[in-house]
């Protein structure tokens, strides 16, 4: 048995257990027991059947998919629950990413300072970065919401799209802020010390021994675990409020605003609430992304890549369903990364059509995503997992025998 593979695998146990709790039906006891068993069995299978390279790929693939899942959850609390057409996800995503980068990095010193500029670098811990990123993004969401939420559907879409472009261009051009068009580098990775010398100060000896076969290249696994836990927390918190009287009111406003107003709901105030909550989550997603990428720049936040793919994820997974948002993120990210290899395979066939085509293969992916979005809207508008009928989990069930 390869001890390095087992050490890598150990990072999968908790995420798989959490996934099990989410998808396995039945009573609480059954869930917990089956999830534990499933987590260990699947981990063991992965660790023994995959080689180190593929295993690392699985971890980093899932990490990116989970970051998208967080963004998709953020969009779900805006679009799915409340019907805001936010085409400016990139704005909140990038604000979150750059904020946490500025909060967690330290100011460049020495030679570095001459070619890398940033407004400030506070050197704060990872979680502080995430929190501040969420708050700053939420504040942006609030500022945007006040004028813009008076608009409906398509106008809101255009306004948010414009705002996202403004934000991106600010990060592209303002060198003093976050190194302008050059990437902002050296964003710290949390718990890197688990797999890199020197070991973390808090790390017990048994953990040091257990992880000793791993090196800095295996950091993907650490990050995978951290992102999985953060995703689980966000999911639980969101699930709680979306299946509550609050969620019911949001859905009512989405369905029929006038009668919600006449039922005593302060429509504008509550619409702003859900928009701000979604913005917060997108900011958190950005913060996690920044540390995952280590270096970020404006080009990561183009509308296609940072907005529309997330829409496809949510639409496919199921608008209004938090589980669907996560599922959609994984499916689309799989298709997206999978088609990259698929285009390579198809190169000979494409060459038959035109000599230029293989080199332009990457653009075929965009077409594929667009076709998928069209197909979803036409054939399964509710997505894979449709919205639940029952909104409030706090509501007692109908009495038996009725």
């Amino acid at each position: 048995m390869d001890s390095a593979q087992l050490a890598r695998g150990s990072f999968f146990i908790l995420p798989l257990f959490l996934l099990g709790l989410m998808v396995i039906p039945g009573s609480r006891l059954v869930k917990v027991v089956l999830s534990i068993i499933a987590a260990f069995v699947i981990t063991w299978l992965l660790a023994t059947s995959l080689n180190a390279g593929v295993f690392t790929y699985v971890a980093s693939f899932s990490t990116m998919a989970m970051i998208y899942a967080i963004l998709s959850l953020g969009l779900n609390s805006q679009w799915g629950m409340s019907g805001h057409v936010n085409f400016g996800i990139a704005a909140f995503f990038s604000i979150g990413a750059f904020t946490s980068a500025l909060v967690t990095t330290t100011m460049p010193e020495g030679v570095l300072a001459s070619y890398s500029a940033q407004a400030f670098g506070l050197g704060m811990p990872y979680l502080v970065g995430i929190l501040v990123a969420g708050i700053v993004s939420a504040i942006l969401g609030w500022l945007v919401a006040i004028p813009v939420l008076r608009l409906r559907a398509d106008f809101l879409a255009i306004a948010t799209l414009g705002i996202a472009e403004i934000i991106r261009l600010i990060f592209q051009n303002e060198r003093w802020l976050a190194n302008g068009p050059q990437p902002l580098r050296g964003i710290p990775q949390p718990w890197l010390c688990l797999v890199k010398q020197p070991n973390c100060s808090w790390e017990p000896q048994w953990l040091v021994d257990w992880l000793s076969p791993l090196g800095a290249r295996d950091y993907s696994f650490v990050n995978f675990l951290i992102v999985a836990v953060l995703l689980a927390v966000i999911y639980l918190l969101l699930e709680r409020i979306s299946n509550s009287p609050w969620g019911r009111m949001q859905r009512a406003i989405r369905d029929e605003e006038q009668s919600a107003a006449m039922s005593g709901k302060a429509v504008t105030y509550f619409r702003i609430q859900s928009f701000v909550i979604g913005s917060f989550i997108m900011g958190v997603g950005g913060a996690i992304y920044a540390s995952y990428m280590v270096a970020i720049d404006y080009s990561h936040f183009l509308p296609l890549y940072a907005t529309f793919i997330i829409w496809v994820m949510l639409m496919l997974g199921g608008s209004g369903n938090n589980k669907g948002a996560i599922l959609g993120a994984f499916v689309i990210w799989f298709v997206w990364t999978g088609t990259e290899t698929m285009i390579d395979w198809l190169a000979p066939a494409l060459r038959l059509i035109s000599d230029d085509l293989p080199s332009r293969g990457a653009y075929l992916r965009w077409m594929l995503v667009a076709v998928m979005l069209g197909a979803i809207v036409l054939f399964r508008p509710q997505g894979i997992l449709k919205e639940r009928k029952r909104v409030s989990d706090f509501m007692p069930r109908a009495k038996a025998g009725k």
Binding site: R248, M249, F270
Partner: protein, 266 residues
């Protein structure tokens, strides 16, 4: 400027010199009327007389260009709809505005006022209290459903109800709180005779037993004649007259408003 309120029957709802323009069109033209407590007051008039616009102004969907609206002694002119609701006024819509993606029971539970679970943080920090309140609200919603005889569709999507059932749901929604006054916009439009009779009975029961005041727009004259007293007639944005149903029915001005008047001169 304090004029002593007359003793005895007091107006619950008072509209004074209301004006509402849409561009060049004057939908409401210096209209004034009063609705006395514990009455079922009818509001009739030919199409385009400004009845629904009047409802929209009273409930805060439109801001009037002039005039005032009082609920009891309080000036509620141009308050937003949710504030109007909090002061004890409910309304239904001409075309039912249910929340189609939610079940009937949750359509009703939505309306209950002062839900602590509507502050989302309470769902995290005070789940037990939210749950207890949901229990009470559900019990109340079930009572209301039994009253309007919709118990069999409790868990159905509201969007899937028939037109008549949606009308009942609209009425039911107003009962989830304790309104002082309910504004009904054509409660019987597109509803068959049997159901119409039931709606009328429900309205009368609510007035008698719970002391709810009703102001209702209706085109079905049978219903108006049987149910309403007094009846206010609007025509071309003005209040034409107020009277008992039989007075209104035989008044030449009313007949002219409906049959002649604006149309005859055209």
């Amino acid at each position: 400027m304090s004029t002593a309120a007359p003793q005895g029957k007091r107006p619950l709802l008072r509209v004074e010199g209301l004006v509402k323009d849409f561009g060049g069109l004057r939908a409401i033209d210096h209209c004034s009327f009063e609705v006395e407590e514990n009455t079922i007051t009818g509001l009739i008039g030919p199409n385009g007389a400004g009845k629904t616009t009047m409802f929209n102004v009273i409930t805060g969907f439109f801001r009037p260009d002039a005039g005032r609206v009082f609920l009891g002694d309080e000036d509620i002119t141009a308050l937003p709809p949710h504030e109007v609701f909090k002061r004890g006024m409910c309304r239904t819509f001409q075309i039912p505005r249910e929340h189609p993606s939610m079940s009937v029971i949750e359509n009703l539970m939505l309306v209950a006022p002062d839900q602590i679970g509507e502050k989302f943080w309470n769902c995290w920090i005070r789940p037990a209290e939210v749950r207890r309140q949901e229990e009470e609200i559900r019990a109340r919603a079930e009572e209301v459903l039994a009253f309007v005889e919709l118990t069999h569709v409790t868990e159905e999507y509201a969007g899937k109800l028939s037109g008549g059932q949606k009308k009942l749901l609209e009425l039911a929604r107003t009962l989830m709180t304790d309104p002082k006054i309910v504004l009904l916009d054509e409660p019987a439009a597109g509803v068959n005779r049997t159901l119409m009779k039931r709606i009328s009975e429900n309205i009368e029961t609510l007035r008698r037993e719970r002391g709810i005041t009703f102001l209702l727009i209706e085109h079905d004259m049978n219903m108006v004649m049987n149910l309403c007293n007094p009846v206010i007639v609007m025509s071309e944005g003005r209040d034409l007259m107020v009277g008992r149903p039989e007075e209104v029915q035989n008044d030449p001005r009313v007949l002219e408003a409906y049959l002649g008047g604006q149309y005859a001169t055209a």
